[in-house]
Symmetry: C2
């Protein structure tokens, strides 16, 4: 089995191979938040690219999570914090969700063999799920406006460190090696390590520092969100 990392949605055409299992990662915070939604009982997530599309769903009676530049959109029911989604509000519901970068990454990876949503919060469940039948796993980092970021890269490194426990794994290119090297430097205290990073500063400036700490905790949920190519919805993988 081969593991690789694509550091930006715009680069996926250059990393793509036949039969990829793609894991879309947007640690701060979209992928962590999608895991939280399904863990709290949401029936499905419908991702949309634009706030206009999200607003239309809202007027059609859907629950909507929407964020732009780290802030909840005014018209939305929820923002992009995993704490926004309580069981009372989301149980059994379909949630429409749009975020700055996560949606773009899903769009790039949606024709892969399988597409999962990954986060530190579901890392072990995710590894178990991928190891079932994947030939090549590509961690597709959402980044920030197609620029690479530290937190998604670190997730790739953590994944690369854990996965050899499950079988023989080849690192597919320099990008996953760089991620592993970075993780080995950061892993004793990822939160402190990330205090220099771009997005951590953005989160602080928007008063959601506690979200950052939560987004770095391992295995707080057991669900693996999976994208369905037919109806384009994301549900807990069975």
């Amino acid at each position: 089995m081969t593991l690789d990392l694509c550091p930006s949605p715009a680069l996926y055409p250059f990393y793509k191979k036949e039969n990829d299992t793609v894991i879309v990662v947007d640690i701060f915070r979209a992928s962590t938040t999608m895991c939280a939604m399904l863990q709290k009982g949401a029936k499905a997530i419908i991702t949309v690219a634009t706030t206009e599309a999200a607003r239309q769903y809202k007027s059609d009676g859907f629950l909507v999570g929407a964020e732009r530049n780290t802030r909840k959109c005014d018209f939305a029911d929820f923002g992009n914090s995993p704490f926004d989604y309580s069981r009372e509000l989301v149980q059994g519901k379909e949630i429409v969700f749009t975020t700055t970068n996560g949606t773009m990454a899903i769009e790039m990876g949606r024709n892969s063999r399988k597409l999962y949503i990954g986060a530190f919060s579901n890392i072990d469940a995710l590894i178990n799920r991928c190891m079932d039948d994947s030939e090549r796993i590509v961690i597709l980092c959402a980044g920030w406006n197609n620029r690479i970021n530290m937190e998604d890269t670190l997730f790739g490194g953590a994944f690369a460190e854990k996965i050899p426990e499950m079988g023989v794994v080849t690192l597919g290119s320099d990008s996953i090696r760089i991620a592993l090297e970075l993780w080995q430097k950061a892993k004793n205290d990822p939160l402190a390590y990330l205090k220099q990073s771009d997005h951590y500063k953005r989160l602080i400036n928007n008063g959601v520092e506690s979200d950052a700490a939560f987004c770095l905790l391992h295995n707080t949920v057991s669900v693996v969100p999976e994208y369905n190519k037919t109806d384009k919805k994301i549900r807990a993988s069975k």
Copy 2:
């Protein structure tokens, strides 16, 4: 002054700002080789994207350096090794040069305020040159078919470590921070560190291991190749 790193030519549109000073880096081996050409007295370098264009120049009587997938093209006078270019052969001449990745990076960055070619071989000369008048420096990594690589990233880290000696520098985004972190792990023995990397393996497989060692030596030349927007040639910066 701000320093940033763009890890792939395809991502430069997302890193680009007004008035960038761009440094194109292709450590293994195009940027090191271009430095060698000018240091050995070549008058100018004409970079071309395709082997067809290079072949046409050859039939027009030009000296031509051409490489594809780490190997010298049959029709060319030189390949992509810095050792191919002796003073006897290149002094006073214009050299036509095409490589797998370096040409693409130059193409992406050619509308910047200034475009220099950087390598470990000219790192100090390059820093002196950039510090004269740059507001923002972007190290544009050539990578490999738009995938990121370790050696170009390490150069970015080495540059970021050295440049604060010259003045106050802000790291522009996570990519240059990642590069600096990586360099700090690698710097005691970059050659050993790179033995796991994709391109090092390619060089070994093509019998040019000694080139890799040379490409990691600091300050073996004093020239700074500079791209001229008007005639699209690269000459030693005055």
